[in-house]
Symmetry: D2
Subunit: 294 residues, 4 copies
């Protein structure tokens, strides 16, 4: 396929590389110049302007938040104005359900198509082309861009013909991860104050009932109190919980655990946690219990 | 070894069978007569009175709650009065941290020993002799009863020389399972009201980030709304959260997720959920969201 | 003074009447025609267009929400475009802190002034001219419009030179009222299920420690289960809690009680409570306790 | 009447004085000798042993907690063993609903009567004889001891023929006060971080909608951060929330605000707050928001 790629952060750069190496033609655009050098050396064209990345069959966006996506879609020379009729916007970013709905409507009105396809996986998983893709959109649009999904991920789950459903699934997944961090933080604070060794405790949990990798990964961060450098920074975690709660509010679904996570993130940020990994919220139960947090 | 065994419920009967089949001499006692028939056929002696089960090197208790344990330990002809000097009480039951502390002190005063050894695993795991044993007590006492642990479990974790630490670990583990049920219940309510198929959603979760069996087991129960017959009944789950909160109160560890679980269990029981599996608490988020619960 | 008045709902109509009767010249505008008849009979001019209400020294807005205020401020012929230099926008509405901040900046850039002056009191208090006004803005701007405040209220509290501070105080006040409703709902559910008569219980509370009128007013509504017709509808209450949480998020202040109120409102709305008084959230504790709600 | 009086703490001493000055014959007993000197000078007899205080028509207990009450009722020479047939135990203490139920049954079995009569009011109110008495028990038993209530209080509310109902009302009242402290703490943290002066804010609240004295009293303590000396110490507040939650658990009434209060108290105590007034829980919202707590 001939695709544009917008957004060369940690995740985006890895994904673009895999798409390129799968043999697709690519025009890359990044707000910050110079970030595309490696890709250009591998054969990508560099777009001087946003619009140059919008001339192919599809354009991929992998950006930090709603605001960044809005600016490339609705801005001057943006996707809405320049994508050709029938072309597809593949939105990999973790954005709000509300923005996804608006994008779907606006692209449709412009004769374009939106496939929402948020991904699960950290940067090293993205580099290995082993992401999980959760896609939603018109079946033929998804079928057409499946080669792109195959390049970045190990498996694609198609959840709906309505794009925003994929964004909802992605947000709910991050909510579930954060809830694991919180629960682990509470349990570790409890047994630790009760005299049990934290490392051994985590070993017991992860070798018996809680064998999923997220328990090992986040449990170890909490036990070691090692929250820097951030793999996924607290403000991004806070954003995802905010978007989860916003979606839940529109759907009128009370989410008490998400509320608690919201407060935990605010506490973390109010105490200077901007640069910490989001797993640092798992240290707050110990703090409330009067334990020195390492 | 020559051991007594008290408590032939689903879990206890399976564990006693495995101990017997490992070649140990066993005297069994159960409040309800007749429950020991199968074991007697396999070579166990049947104790007419509680005291007859207390004459060996160790006596095992696997009972429903604090009250049941207190009645066999402190009652007439009970463990405290009849266990010989140096004999060991192996307490497999999920009891309170406070009772475990009291048992340890009273057994010590009587020249006896307590090893707390709560187990993780459902009845079918117990039947297969594949439980996980979390043990705490004097090192030599634990070493002496290790053959019993080997008969019932696949692995023993020794967490402390203080018995109550093992009970705390067990309670915290059940708290973590219940928190998974709650979080899953919230996430499923959210995406389902947002139009995503619940079964597919669970499949996505459990084949990507949440691969631990508890997500599959409890997720399926929530998705199907199938809470009867109970594998682990709601009142038992409520009891464990109450004991977790009690231990946390003594240690002064705030546990906001456990509080939420407490309320969920009370709501469940206030609506006639006595006989439901504890995973039914995962249906309450959908109920609050106005969704018909299947 | 010569003032414009925009927004003739229950509260606005009462306030406009009092301003008019205090001797001020008034031009009224309402989106729905005909609502100004009574005021015109009392001497007000009727504005055919929004801009006609913006020609005096000040223009008052008393509207339902952010959206309504934005449309009259930023819309065609709106306040921003038509207020003269030095004129003051008196914003009585309960709006978000964020919008108040934006209005202040935009009015300042246009050479106009903003005084935020949300009010406390139900419609009957407004009719009696006995509202409490919480005002913020430039001291001389507030001094200049004090006669307007004197016409609608019994007392003015000036809290800051920054308008948004007044909006924050107003939102926090509604949060406190809602928290009284919730706490009362829980206490009433508890003692009632424990066999105590609800009416007598409320009488004890309000004649001893909880003598503030809000306890009597809202307590009676909860005890009687009488939530229609709504004095202040649930969706408005939900809006105010949402705005409180949004302001708290920007300031990074965790508010656990507000989170709970958020969920209560969502539960209420998910069960068809759109038209109920916001005090209906005080019935949800009893519902969770399995009590038939009258 | 001829009454015994047990428990000469701040509250008890004041109440005993008022009963004595109302002309009743009194025998006082306190575990710590010497505390009864003032009362003896005013005409009370001093009991050398507990049983000497149990010989009249009624005996009053005003003690710190369940444990203290249990020890005088069930202990050697205690009320149960020594009160004469038909005599009444007036229990003013704030005790658990469960203990009240047990006392009622045991006194009845012994041919004695129990009137539960917890009181509302701080020590200075007790000194003035202006307490509010919430009484429950057999109507004729209450009628018989009404002169005692008249001596200590300004008004008696009879809520039930079952004593424990009065204890439930008392606990729920303390829950409501604590919930006011928490809500105020959150609101003050919010507006203060938003730049509003805390003292002025409290003045606005208490001169408009929140005129009940508890808002003034506790609001001032929070605003000033003045939590010592304690009028009602944090461990007592924690105890009452624990008893409220225990009663609610037995009745299966979820109480989310009470859960939050439980965690707040644990946080307070985990940070060395044993000697602080319970209103110190109102400082925790500001602490979570990263504000220096004065």
């Amino acid at each position: 396929m001939d695709v544009g790629f917008i957004g060369l952060g940690h995740m985006g750069a890895a994904m673009a590389t895999n798409i390129l190496e799968a043999g697709h033609a690519m025009t890359v655009y990044n707000r910050t110049p110079g970030k595309d050098e490696v890709l250009v050396r591998k054969g990508a064209r560099s777009a001087a302007k946003l619009s140059e990345a919008c001339r192919g069959e599809a354009v991929v966006t992998m950006l930090a938040d709603d605001h960044a996506v809005e600016s490339v879609v609705y801005g001057d020379g943006g996707l809405l104005a320049t994508l050709r009729t029938g072309a597809t916007h593949i939105s990999f970013s973790t954005i709000s359900v509300a923005l996804s709905e608006r994008l779907a409507a606006d692209h449709a009105a412009a004769g374009q198509r939106l496939v929402a396809a948020p991904v699960f996986g950290r940067p090293e998983v993205a580099a290995a082309g082993k992401l999980f893709v959760v896609a939603a959109g018109a079946p033929d649009a998804i079928a057409a861009v499946q080669p792109i999904f195959d390049a970045v991920g190990q498996k694609t789950f198609v959840v709906s013909e309505t794009p925003k459903a994929a964004n909802l699934v992605k947000l709910s997944g991050n909510f579930l991860i954060a809830s694991v961090i919180e629960s682990l933080g509470e349990a570790i604070a409890l047994v630790s104050k009760g005299g049990v060794d934290k490392e051994q405790y985590l070993d017991i949990l992860t070798s018996t009932l809680f064998t999923a990798p997220i328990y090992k990964t986040y449990g170890a961060l909490i036990v070691e109190g090692k929250f820097e450098p951030a793999g996924f920074a607290a403000p991004l975690g806070q954003k995802d919980i905010r978007l989860t709660l916003a979606a839940a509010e529109d759907l009128r679904v009370p989410l008490p655990v998400a509320n608690l996570l919201r407060d935990r993130f605010l506490t973390l940020l109010a105490h200077g946690g901007e640069k910490l990994d989001w797993s640092a919220l798992g240290s707050l139960a110990a703090r409330d219990a009067g334990e020195a947090v390492n």
